[in-house]
Each structure stands twice: as structure tokens, then as C-alpha cells.
Symmetry: D2
Subunit: 426 residues, 4 copies
């Protein structure tokens, strides 16, 4: 299934009048406040978030998985799904592949398909947390950190293979998420594990094409429940520094201990020129991988406030690799992703409304009340008409969720693919 | 200092035109969605939150306290401060006294003062976590739970005295917050401590006037750092049941373990007819006592969503005692309270916008995406024009914070009271 | 494979001399302190912990599973595994079945097999968190709490079926763990979900044989990541009270929010006569299901201190259903269980050493230092010779782990069963 | 009051016989395992922990403080108290001064007093979290991170003054704990705050004598409740690297988010040669400052396991500055410190028992069960006779707590000092 422009325009008709009123009123208000609307719309339109190839199917937990109907069962179908998302939202113009789940069989065909849907190939993700059939070595006790050199070599080679695959598709970065760690005190020598990891990452770094970045993810726990080798931003930062200037930290919102101040981490990484990528999701307890903005939308706004500040003031960072990393256990994955994309754009738009000049002045005056007023004024603004306008101008849907339903997307996919298909992934 | 109607109207003038436009536009939009605006405004106007007498001065931490200028140094001045808050916001029409910090010397004068400012006397708070000069017994090792009967008797008698004081002022409820607990394993016998507490509470309950309620607060830790006798809602609920039908649980937003689902606790207590009171604040780490809505405004909205549902569907509960329980370490206490009051009204207004009928239907259909859309639609609405209109109709300020500053309230208070005054409290 | 007495005695020989010296020295020391050793040994020997049928195979996480060799692939083989554990440790004299993973085909044969190994059938566990093939209704949106009556009926009937199966084997209790809850705000009506659950539990309770107990487990999150219907002990306690006197709360050590004081919960439940069962494991972050005592052994001791106190002072509780509920991701499951059993016995033995009379006196004197000294004195005692002696007197191994290895148990199982078998379970 | 050798020997008499039996039995057992007892005793005797000058009086919380009797009211009396601790335990041979609470009036006299009690002057601590009387600038909005240069200069100068004071007493390191941070989103610019802090620290570093170290403490929250400038080890490590090779991180056990793996942080800092100091305490919820080892003794052991490993394998680190940083709210401060010292020695002794060779081998074999057995074997050993022997050989008390009580220390102090004295500090 492919959504055509005319379908979207058809559905948009019924929302157009009220949208125009709402947008005009808001735009007028913001203009009076001194905000350059076309500049703002331009930024919203340019902001594209990658969809990982494993997010198009239903997710699960260790207690089981309830499948969804009409899931994509091939890489091509996954890209089609992202095409649908992008057509509706105009903000999902990239795919992030997970290897070995999504190795293309026909590179040219896959690239052509993606190009036709305006989808780029963003960061590629390696997998050394599961054993593949016929794998010689097992990752049960770690991969890049393993005490056994043969295992480390296999894991390094896998990452080099992933780079190679990504390179053929036009990707420009490799994301390394390491499940390595330990389940019990004493199981690992922390120092050896870190040193092995550093050496392995340096080997991979050597194989990085000159215009590529390496993004090093961190996570405090799960699937290992006592320690993780790259447990926090400090460790990731240290490893990125050790590897070189093309290595960066990657922040996944769900990968933090309770009560972490993530926006501060983001800000400091940007100050040091070491923020390379971002995985969006939301959570209440751990790495819950819930829809972006569904639990703590103000925290998301505060993070975007730092991102916007950093993008303006810290040119030492690369263009960030944005990606949604959520799991879809009780919702239609495509609808869930539409909600996530909306929440991201909303937080970004609100952060763009923050009056940085006034904020700086209030900070210098220690006018804490005013500082809060400035952030809350931006956050409390209902920016939905702005997001709709940005989509409209790009050819997207005024109301993506409603359009998705009115266009019977899921029903069509089931018809095309059958009901009981299963996507690769977690 | 007393703020007169004409002062407020004077300042309102400059905001009136743009307010009217914003309000009309929003009201029109909401009306089209089927919302009864005057009904909604009526609820907002009726919603009054008590200000505790200790919140008018600067707070502190165990590492010290930085005082604020012009703090009220008598009960009368505290009530004047609340009068200022109420004049501006029209939502702070009550005071909650802390005994022995605020024992009136002249009851009639205090009542007259409060009446003149339209301020009621809400729940009175006892204090058995500090030793008063000349106290016979010490609360170092507990009060209502103490193994020593003489200590328990002193604490019981204090609570009865507090009821008596409150009764003379028109209060109708007693809030019992118990710091009792232990700092080390083994220090307390958990069972004895709970039984002593239950017996002590029953004694206090016996002294409760027939039209009074007893509100039992819970808290997991601090100032005791190993255990607290009334550690959670389950214990509070159990004790309220043991005391009788005039005893209820009181929820303080900061008194929960990390990641607690507070809205569910609120909902279940209302289902069981045992929610009696509410202390508002916000926090990131523990009982941080920050400005309401400054950290997790969506969680506040979700809590209000349950409160609104409960007020509509659970008549088994009493009118709730609403109070702000925050500490003001780096802001002008009055400005901080204005921000808290605004955040409370905002969350309440948004919760009132939730379409309960559609939500119920979506829940029955397990349409999780729709459920989220309904809540987010309400939450994303910018309700500030509604709050302003409610204040305007009640004679309050369109912009309380700006009016407070333009009217030079703090400067006037410093002039009247002197700079280096110190309010009683924490 | 079955371990015979002579095998154990054979291995014990090499440990006997040093054991005897250590035991004599410790027994002498403890006797001088006024402790009745034979009484203590008697309690240790009587303490039996059930092994759940799903714990004999390797566990996994949502990120995958690394299997172990020689796993049991039938109920009979699982019981054989427990027979091995029991022969070595003499403390694993019960099995806890999970239905539908372990429905006996031949009841008589299964009972005879268990009897021959001295293994009893403890609590049976129902499963309404996964969909079984050919199930008519899905539990995707809940089971006992579902808004759809047909789903609730199916889940109720399943529990009744489980009771029936357990009844034929000699079980006397049903454990209900409910995964029900929600992943997103708004998805569930908290009140409806709780009321449905209460009604469903009452239906199941009606089908309970007169000499059975119903154990209601609680858990704050996972697999649902926003709310759980039975989120904490307070909710479980409320439901148990609503059902009747044969309904109790069940505490799983991993099912609590960060920093919870679990020993206090245990103590209060025992005070109220509502503690019915206990699931042992350990954790650092969430429901990590690690080996008992591997992360927080002092917390385990403090919990046992309350259990011992309760067993002596709170006759209102039933005999508790003890079970290990751990997952074995990186260890041989049988070795892991041996380590868990040892940790449980250790904590129990140390708790039995606490001088309750002196502790009570110190508590009454508020001698906090002494209270701590008393607990730490018991905890710091090396009780391993006591545990070994209890095993020796019961015919078990002086050193279970070493005996397991020396007797080549796993190698034999692999030979008998093959390498790549897979046990049912998570 | 000064405890003389003969007093201690007098009390020791009654414990000597049973101690000798216990010690001989344990020493014999350990020797058979290949452990060099005299080597081990030597390490225990050499291990000295500093007592901070503020820990000799009762602590408190923001809810109040219950004072203790006979508190020291001068620096001389504080040193006398430490002399008592050291005489009894032989492990408290250092004092850590807090400036400006403990500025000596007569340096020579203070040094002579300390020397006579065998007490050294360890790290000196600056205080820029409170305003001192007559201070020109306020730290309300930060000190080294303040946006106002004059405030930063005052704070820098204070640190230089503290170095100067320490230098006259023989101290060799400065500990910088910074309360700087913010209470609300937007209050601080994270990047500016960090850069100001880095520049200020560099200024202080310039004033460091050539044989001194600068120890940079980190803490995630409190007294600021939204953000802290030096929030975690990563930030502290980054700052230490920026300052130079004499700058190190300092780990305070209570300064971490829930569930942090502190032993891994310790290990990594040692690998990188950047661990400079250690503050001991224990906690269940936050920075509770409880007696060392009273809540999580196994975690303390695991940390010591890394410290022992690092001291053997990471010569790149300096001699660590060990200090107890606890607050004494419900215990006699001296008894509390005795319990802390005992817990530290216990954890250290057990860590010294770990067979590092076998552990390494088990780790290389991925024998996770064995790794755990090795750690638990060490931890489960009752090492109290070893600690007693080490004290005995150094002239200390076999049972410090009992000796303290039998020698009527507190009663004598009250007699000498009066009951209602108050120590400076928190």
C-alpha cells in the first residue's frame, strides 16, 4: 500500500477551515510576540526522525507478546510502512536498519523503493546481544567486552559488516548498543570488561569510512541485571573520547536510573561536542519503550530546550541522528509511531518558542520566577496548529491519526499481507 | 498591605483587550466541541486552595536557609499575605494553621481579619515532630507511636488542643502528619509502633467534633531514614478504617517512592470513600516541596483527571481539603504560591475538558490510541484564557504574577515590616 | 537421574572432619550464649521451599534467551530435577506447578514419582498473562480485570481448572498473579479494573476447596508499564479482605518500587493475619529475578527477622507457602537454585539467632545502638556449619554445590536427555 | 577526658580468653586456606579513617534536630572526642576539618593536642553552601558556578584560605563539595554553570601546594532539587581531568541516584587513576547519612572488593583519603562512629579474604556460580576476631562499644562539659 497525495488532500479538506482559523489566530499571536513564523515552520519541516526497522511490528516482554495484524514481514514491507508514516506526517523521512534482522537482498531495489518514498537510510544498528543461527561464538557472556578474544573478533567483524551494508545504502553512522555486562557481583572484572570494550570499539572505529560517525549508546541495566559495561553517559563519553573525533555518545531517553536529569546530560554532551544521536521513547519505571511524550511530556520539552540551545550555540556537534526507539505492545505500531512523531514535533516547536534572550537575562538576574514563567509560557502554548501547518505545507495530513483511520490503512495492509504475519525484531 | 479592587482593575486594563480576544477564541472553540463554558468557569471559580501558614516565609534544607525579605512575623501578617494572594488569584480563599507555630492570641481579631479578606480556616495541622520549649516529653523517638505512654499522651493531648484551637476559628478538619519511624533496622518493633499509633489516633478521633474530619497523612521516609510508621496509602487507609467514618487518608504528592503511580492511589481511595485531603507540590527526587506543576505537570493533570472523575462518580467522599505544601528556598514565597495556584487551576481546567463519555467508550473498545488522544487533546489545550476569565469574573487579576510585581507588593511589605524579619516554620 | 544416599555420603566423607570441627566450635559458642542448638537445627530441617516447575530451565529477557544444556522437557523430568536438589540440600521438598505449562498427563504416575523423591505439591499457579493456542478470548487487554465479561469468565474458569488440577495432586493453595494493568494513561479506568478484579477473585474464591488458601500476588509494573491493577500490598490486602478469610497476600521480593521497606510490609501483613506466601529472589533494579541473597543479603535477613517474629507472635497467619521465583539466565539452573536455597537457609538461621528478649528491651529503652548491635551480632555470625549440620542430619550433602559438580549431575542429565532440550516457561 | 592504655587493658581482660579462642580458631582456618594472617592484620592496622570535625555532635534534618548531651563545643574538644575513638578502635587516627566551623585559634596548641592523641590532619573541607555572617556576597544562587564574578571570587578565595589553614596543620588535600545547582528548570544555564565551575576550580587548583591533592565531590541532588552542577562521577571526572593530575574524584556513598552500581564507578575511577577520596555512610533512600554498614553491608563489601583490587593493581591512584560522613540523629555520635568504624574494617577484612587468583580464573571460565561462591565465601566469614586482634595488637579495645560504655565515657563528658552544649555543624 502506498498513500498518494490525493488521498491525503481528500481527507484534509474536512479539517481545512477550522485549521486555518486556529493557525491564523496562533500565528498572529506569536508574531505579535516577535516570533518569526516562517522561520519556525521551516525548522519544523526540516526536522526528520528515523524509524527503526524493528518498530513496525508488535513488541513484547519476557512474559510474552501479543501480535498485531498485517505486520510487515520483509524489509520492503517495512519501508512501505515508513512510507505511509512519512506521507501522513512528513517527519519520518528516514529508516534505521537493524542487522542481521534486515539485510537487503537486492540493494538497488531497496534503495529505489526508499527513494521513491523520500526515505533516507540513517544510522545502522548492529546486534551482538543475540546469537544468530550458525554463529561460531556465543554472546551469552558478552561480545565486545568478552574475555575470549575469538568472541570479541566475531563481534567486531559483525560491526564492520554492518558498516559495509549501511555504506551501500547511503547510511553515514553506526550505532553500537552493547548489552554486555553481568548479572551477579564477581561475574565480571569491571576494568577488564571496559578495556576490552575500548579496544574493540577502536577496532571498529578503524573501519569507519571517513564521513561516518560512530554512536555509542549507554544503558544502566537490562538485559544484564547487576552491571552494564557502558552504564552511563560518563562511560560512553570516555569511550568516545578514546576512539576519536568521529565517535559520539548516543542518548536513549529510557536508559537512565530513576530521577536522572537527562536534559543536563544532553546539555553537557553538547557543550563538549560529543552528542551524536538520540533515541526517543517514554517510560515510567525503566526502559519501558512507551510512546514518546505519553508519560513525561514536560521532561521531553526540557530536553528539547537544551537541544535547541545546543543546535544554536554548540556548532562543535554533528547533525544529530534522531530515532524513535519504542515498543508497541498494545497499540497498532503505525498509530503509535504517529503519536510519537507528533509528540516530538510538539516538544521541538515549544522549545523553539522559548525566548532565549529573555531567559538569559532572567538567569543573570537570578529571577527564578521569571525563568520558570518563560519556559512555562512556551510549554503552555498550544502549538498543534503550527505542526499541522508545517505538515500541510509539506504535503502531509492535517490530522495524521484520523487520516490513517479514515484511509483504512491497517485494513488494507491486512488485506494485502494477511492477518497473521510476524515482523522480525524484539 | 492590602490590595484593593481598584489596584487590580488598574493593572488589568492593559491586559484586557488581548485577553478578550484569546478568551473569545478559546471559548468559541470549546463550545463547538460541546463544552459548557459557564459551567466550567463556575467550577474553576469555586475551587479554592488553602495556604498553610508556614509557607509565607522562606524555607530551607538541613544545609541551611537563605531568608527572604519582608517575611511575615506574626499570624496576622501571614493572613495579610494570603489576603494578597487571594485578591490577585481569587483561588486562595483559605488558610491552614500549623500549631504551635500559629496559635492566635486574639481569636476574634484573627477571625475578623480573615473574614475581611474572604479567607476561611481550613484543616489545622498538629506538630509532634519537634520538641517545644518546656515540653515535658521528647519526640526524639516518636510521638503517637512511642513505646512510652507518657509521650503518647502528650502527643494525643496536643492534637486535642489543636482541634480546640481550630474549632474556635471555624476549621472542620485536623491533619495528622506523623514523622514517627526509625533510622535503623531493629530500632522499632513495626507491629508495636503501628498498634500504638492506631490506639493514639483512636483517642484523638474520640475528641473530634461531630462535623469534623481527621486526615491521616502518609510518607515513606524523612525525617526518619529507615522506616516510617505510616509509610504508604495502604497503612493510612487501614488506620482510617480502624478509626471510623470521619477518618480519611490525605495524599501529599511528594510523599511517595520513586515512580509511584499516584493517580491510581487517588482513584482507589476515592472508590473506597476514603480520600479526605490533598497536599500539592512537585518534586524530582524526594519530598522536594517544589512549586506545583514545575517538574511533572502531566502527572498533575492525570491526578486531576482522577479527582474530577471521583468528584463526579464517588459521592462517598467528603469535600476535599486542598492545600499547597511547598517550600520556597529560592523564590519570593508569594510569587511561588501564585505560580502553584496557577498550575493547580490549569490542571483542574484541563481535566474538566476531558470528554468522559468518549473516554469510557474508547476504554470499552480497548482503543488505547484513542484513549491517549482524548487525554492529550485536553492536556494540549492552552487553558490560560479560561483561568484568566474565571479570575476576572471573581474580581482577580488577569495576570497575577505581573500584577504582583507592578503593584510593588514585596517592596511595600519590606517597607512596612522591615527587611530582616523571619517567619515561623521550617 | 536420581541421586542415591550413598553418592552423597561418598562425597560428604571428604568434608566431614573439618565440618565437625567448625560445627562443634560454633555450636559451643552459641550454646554459651544460651541458644538451644537442637531446637534451632530442628527448625532449619523443617524449613522447606518449593521449586516452581518453570525454574528448571534457562530464563531469558525480552532481548533473547541463551539456553542451557540438558534442560528437562517434561513434568517428570522437572520433578526429577527437584529430586536432585532435594537430595542434596534437603530443603527443596516441594514443587509449585504452573498451569498450563505443566499439566500432568498421568496423575498417579506423577504423584508416585514425587512421593518417591519426598516432594510435595505446593501452591499451584495460574497463567492469564499469555494466550494459549486455541484460546477463545485474548488476555491482551487484561484477564480478571477485563472490561469484557467473556474474557473474565475464561480467566476465572482457568483458575478453577487450576484448582482442580492441584487438588488431584494434593496442593492446598492457589497463587494468583495478575499481569493486568495498562501501558498508557487513560487506557484503563482504575476503578472499573479493580472492581472487575475483585468480582472475579470472589468467583474463584467460591470454587476454593474448604482447606485451600488463595494467595494474591502484587506487583507495581511489568509487563504493563503504566499501571498494574494489583499494584501494591495495600491493594492485595484490600482484595484479600474482600474475598474472605482464606484469601491472603503473597509477597514477591522483586515486586516493589525502588527503596521499599519490604520487611515492614511483611511485618504488618503478619500482624493483620494476611500473609500467605512468599516468593524469594533478589534484584538490583526491578523484578530482576536473580539468585536469592546475591545482591542484598542483609535485607533478606531483616525480612526473615520479621518472619521469625511473626511465626512466633502472630498465630493468626497460615503456614506460609515459600517458593523461589528466580530466572536463570547465565547459570546452570540447578546450581543457581542450590545457591538460592543456601541463602534462604542462611538468612533464616541468622534470624533465629536474634535475641528477641534483649531486642525488645533495647527497643523499650530507645537504645538504638544496642538494637543494631543485636541484629548485627546475629547477622555477622557465620552460620554455614549449622546449615551443613542440618543437611547432614537429614541425609543431605555437606557441600551441595561441590557435590553437584563432583557427581557430574549436569553431564549425566545431558547424556540422558540430550544437549538441546528446552524447558517450558519464560 | 582522655582514655589511657590502662583503662582499655582493664576492660579487655574480661574478653581476652574467649577472644583468644575465637581468633585462634579463625586464624587456623584461614591459614589452612593459604591466607597470610600477619600480612592481613598488618593491613587492617594500617587502615585509618578520618573523622570529620562536624560529626561529633548530633545531626538533624530540615524538620529539626534533637541534641545530644555533652557535645564538644570547641575544636579542642572535638579532637579529644576523636582521641577517645582512636584509643578504643585504633582506626580513627585522623581528623578532617570543616572551615569555617573549625578554624584553629592556636595552631601550635591544636597540633600538639592532635599529635598527643596520634591524630593526623587529613583533607580540609571548604564551605560555600552557607552564608557566613558579614559575608559580602551570598551563595543563595551558587558559589563557584555563580553567574556573578564577585561571588565566584569570594568562593575561590575561601577555598584558598582553607588550603592555607590546612597547610599549617599538615593536611595534604582539599575536598570541594559544591551545593551549586538549581531548584527549577530554566533557573540555570547548565553550560554556563559548568564552565564557571571549571574555571573556578582551576583557580583554586593554581593555589594548591605541590604536594597537595584536590578532591572533587559529586552529588545528584540536595540541597538543590532540580539539578546539581557536579551531578555525577562523569562530571567530576571531567573536571578533575580539566584541572590537572593533582585533581581527583571523591566518592560519597550517599551521593547517587537509586540503584546505582557504585562499585563499578569506584573500579573505573581507579582504572583511570582518578579516585582520590571516599566518604563512608549508608542510606536507604537518599543521602541519609546513616551509620556505615547499617543498611547495605554487602554493597559495602563489594565496593571494598574493588578498592582492594585497585590498591593492588592500579598504582596510578594516590593514597585515598578515607572519611566517615554520617549524621547522628538518634544515637550517641561517638557510639555511632564506633559502629561505622567497625563496619568499615569488617568490609575491608572480608575483601582482603577474596581469593583474587581463583576469582580471575572463574571469570575467565565464565563460571558465574563459582565467582559468586568466591565472593560469598569471603563475605560469609565472621571476621570479627580478626578485627579484635588487630585492635589488640595496636593497643585498642577488644570490644570498643562495650568498653565505651563500661568506661562511662559519655557520662564523664557530660560532667566535664555540661549537658546542653552544642557542636558546630549541620
Amino acid at each position: 500500500m502506498k498513500i498518494e497525495q490525493q488521498h491525503i488532500e481528500g481527507v484534509n479538506k474536512s479539517y481545512l477551515k477550522s485549521h486555518q482559523e486556529n493557525y491564523d489566530f496562533l500565528a498572529n499571536n506569536l508574531t505579535q510576540k516577535g516570533i518569526n513564523i516562517s522561520n519556525l515552520l521551516g525548522k519544523l519541516k526540516a526536522f526528520q526522525v528515523a524509524i527503526p526497522s524493528w518498530a513496525l511490528g508488535a513488541g513484547g516482554t519476557r512474559f510474552g507478546r501479543f501480535s498485531y495484524y498485517g505486520e510487515p514481514s520483509s524489509l520492503e514491507q517495512k519501508i512501505q510502512d515508513i512510507g505511509i508514516l512519512h506521507a501522513l506526517t512528513q517527519t519520518a523521512g528516514a529508516v534505521s536498519l537493524h542487522i542481521p534482522w534486515d539485510i537487503p537482498e537486492d540493494y538497488a531495489a531497496v534503495k529505489e523503493l526508499a527513494e521513491g518514498l523520500n526515505i533516507k537510510f540513517d544510522a545502522v544498528n548492529s546486534n551482538t546481544f543475540q546469537d544468530q543461527k550458525d554463529a561460531k561464538e556465543t554472546y551469552k557472556y558478552g561480545s565486545l567486552s568478552n574475555t575470549n578474544e575469538a568472541v570479541r573478533q566475531q563481534a567486531i567483524q559483525h560491526n564492520l559488516d554492518v558498516i559495509n551494508i549501511g555504506n551501500q545504502l547511503g547510511s553515514k553512522s553506526l550505532t553500537v548498543w552493547l548489552a554486555d555486562g553481568s548479572c551477579f557481583p564477581g561475574q565480571n572484572n569491571f576494568q577488564t570488561a571496559l578495556q576490552n570494550t575500548e579496544n574493540s570499539l577502536k577496532e571498529i572505529y578503524k573501519g569507519l569510512p571517513s564521513d561516518w560517525s560512530m554512536l555509542i549508546e549507554y544503558k544502566p541495566y537490562e538485559p544484564n541485571f547487576y552491571s552494564t559495561v557502558i552504564q552511563d553517559w560518563g562511560t560512553s563519553f570516555m569511550l568516545a573520547n578514546a576512539c576519536g573525533e568521529k565517535a559520539y555518545s548516543l542518548v536513549d531517553l529510557g536508559h537512565h536510573l530513576p530521577n536522572s536529569n537527562i536534559e543536563q546530560i544532553v546539555s553537557i554532551l553538547m557543550l563538549k561536542g560529543k552528542l551524536g544521536g538520540f533515541h526517543f521513547n517514554d517510560s515510567k519505571y525503566g526502559d519501558d519503550d512507551l510512546t514518546v511524550g505519553s508519560i513525561k511530556p514536560y521532561a521531553l520539552f526540557l530536553i528539547f530546550n537544551e537541544l535547541v540551545y545546543g543546535m544554536q550555540n554548540n556548532p562543535q556537534n554533528p547533525d544529530l541522528a534522531w530515532m524513535i526507539d519504542a515498543s508497541h505492545n498494545v497499540k497498532d505500531p503505525l498509530e503509535d509511531l504517529i503519536q510519537s512523531l507528533e509528540a516530538i514535533q510538539e516538544a521541538y516547536a515549544k522549545a523553539l518558542l522559548v525566548n532565549q534572550t529573555e531567559l538569559k537575562e532572567a538567569q543573570l538576574n537570578n529571577d527564578v520566577v521569571k525563568c520558570q514563567e518563560i519556559l512555562q509560557d512556551a510549554y503552555r502554548t498550544d502549538v498543534r496548529p503550527l505542526l499541522a501547518q508545517a505538515r500541510l505545507e509539506s504535503g502531509g495530513a492535517l490530522s495524521p491519526i484520523n487520516s490513517y483511520r479514515r484511509l483504512n490503512v491497517r485494513e488494507t495492509l491486512i488485506e494485502e499481507r494477511g492477518k497473521y504475519t510476524v515482523a522480525t525484531g524484539l
